[in-house]
Symmetry: none
Subunit: 218 residues, 4 copies
DNA sequence: GATGAATGAGTATTCATTCAT
DNA sequence: TATGAATGAATACTCATTCAT
């Protein structure tokens, strides 16, 4: 707050490669989120980063390259954030509950940039690959690992397919976290309630058979 | 009918408003699917429908209106197709299995148009609403109804949330049927195998407790 | 002079395909000649033709297409003009003299557009082909035909290679008519004098042997 | 020489002004030949010379200056090469024959750089002047000198205009050597045959009258 | 009612050149 | 002195939409 910064970093015309690249990335992230990829103009991005349009092409090979770059950068962040936000839980029910709830929250917060990534991923195969590999795959891995831990602890049947379930949960994440809430504009409270129901079914579906199954709302 | 006018007007393609509209809708469906919404040009659509570009604006209020119109039209078809393709099954396992399998197949076949609808739905709120309401909602209803039937027949616990589960299944449909296969280019055979695992977990999660649980490949 | 024409043809916004195409061709011819191909802008061409830039692309497939179109159109004109300007002469000396003199004059008059065609022909193979085939080839044909007539009349040796000579004359035309005068900025009077000398040598080189050769200004 | 500085400046490529200039000239010659003047970028030139773009401006006042410099440098080389490649011949026929044949060969070999020089000469008056003065003029001089020698030896008529003829030959050189072969993409073998015919006519046109004229392949 | 000619606003991209370091 | 980061002006081309015919 006490800083004397004019904008973010270096002054116009002055040298400062790293700062400018970062400024461009930040500006682009914002502009993409605000207007969507297509409606975003390199001019506005450059203006907001307070540098020339040419730099976008020199550093990132154009608008598309800039999006790809941002996506790559986000990939690391996302996984870290996900891991941090989802510490291991003691019960399976709780674990799944959190998995669904967190997606609901985080995708809503990130909805603007999600819109950009998802819509582009559908259109641009390379973006699709980045999103699929670095973001979805990573999420599936993380979920599967968590489930495996519960399985080892005997809280999940030996014969349950945890990887398949991880895919299902990741899918429900994107469908209910992003599409239902953001794209289909469904009622968020309602979706949150559904999450409970879904978690309950999944938990029960995974738990060992015998039991008196102490599920969610036991 | 007398046809003695020298060149009064209509000389091309189909005559009559309805035929022309249909020709335009068919052409647009094809062109959108081939190039995606943005890359599709009104010129190509008009050319392929063998009429003038102006008509797209007169009849559908422009390119966007044409897409919306097509989406609306598809809504009815889709639900009918879905209902027809998914006759009621005798066991819950079979029912869920088919629900997942059918999405996998149909979304793959329809992938080109899916791309268009999904990418636009993310960007254009009105498209999002149409898709969400007419397509997703309808699917959820259909699934929920099926589950309710099984519930009434005692094949699903009284306390299971069938609507929530319906949302989950519809979500897995779009995630595994469209995103995994089409956008993330994952192996289709692998996804099909996951479907079995998911179906198994869901089935078990819904079935009454007591049981000797006759699941999928029991 | 008494006409009420605003520009050349139709008013802005009004329909009139043929007139607009012509206006565009005229404008482009002028702009290319004034600034050269590269420095010419589609904007200036459109402005001068008093229509939108888009038309250049719709009608001629862009700037390059416009040049090609103009070149094609000129080809016919040129040959006709050449034929008209060079009626058959009674003596070989006179014939060759005129062949050289005319190139000197006409290429000077047309120097601006020559610049464009020649510089582009060197760079753009398609332009090179058009120029080579439609303009140079045509000129060679015309010269060869003239020489053949003189040969039949006994004013050129039987064993002289008239086609080769036609190529030589066409070459001297472009070299002395265009390059020397226009590109190398040599003295035009001097070049005119050289033409006489060249004509004299060529005439003598072609004439039957016996004689005391009544050359040019005998 | 002491070389103990850590990183004071020069770290790349050749050191010393002269070497750097030469590296730049060599690189530019190659890049101009490969892509043509316009398509050539100062960045590629600098990269290939392994030094910074700024140097092009410091040493040569920009891209255009670099071309001009190269042209100047070539001028000397060219004349020397020409002289060396065309030793005096004993007969006029042979002399002219060689004059035409050599242009055919050398311009083909040098066609890439010829393209650059010729296309620019047409567009840029200063380049036109350099080419005209240093290259064409020099060629004319050399040819004229050769012809004069034959004239002094009585192998050319007293009254033949050797300078005009030199211009004609130089013109045929550029027209048949460069334009016909390279720009118009004519058949090289055919052009070579025409050269013979042209040489024959020119020789005969220059030779003293009386004679039984021992021409080319008599 | 239908045509298709015309529009014009809009955009990514390129590159020689400059100048802070 | 050399670097290379930064500039910004300049341009061809696209396309949904409008409107004269």
């Amino acid at each position: 707050m006490t800083m004397t910064h004019t904008h973010t970093g270096v002054q116009r015309g002055k040298h400062g490669k790293a700062e400018r690249q970062q400024a461009l990335v930040d500006a682009a992230t914002a502009v993409f989120a605000e207007h969507g990829y297509d409606a975003a103009t390199t001019r506005e991005i450059a203006e907001r980063a307070d540098c020339s349009e040419g730099l976008i092409h020199r550093y990132f090979h154009g608008k598309r390259g800039l999006l790809l770059w941002i996506l790559d950068a986000k990939a690391g962040e996302y996984t870290a954030k996900l891991t941090a936000a989802l510490p291991d839980r003691d019960t399976l029910a709780e674990e799944i509950e959190r998995l669904l709830a967190y997606a609901q929250e985080s995708m809503w917060e990130d909805r603007d940039f999600m819109r950009v990534s998802v819509s582009r991923s559908v259109i641009d195969p390379e973006v699709g690959h980045v999103i699929g590999h670095h973001l979805n795959e990573a999420r599936v891995q993380l979920i599967a690992e968590k489930l495996r831990r519960h399985q080892r602890a005997g809280r999940i049947r030996e014969d349950a397919d945890v990887v398949a379930t991880a895919h299902a949960i990741a899918g429900i994440n994107i469908a209910c976290g992003f599409f239902a809430q953001v794209v289909f504009a469904m009622d968020r409270g309602e979706m949150r309630r559904y999450s409970h129901g879904i978690a309950e079914v999944l938990t029960r579906g995974l738990e060992p058979d015998s039991s008196q199954s102490s599920t969610t709302e036991g």
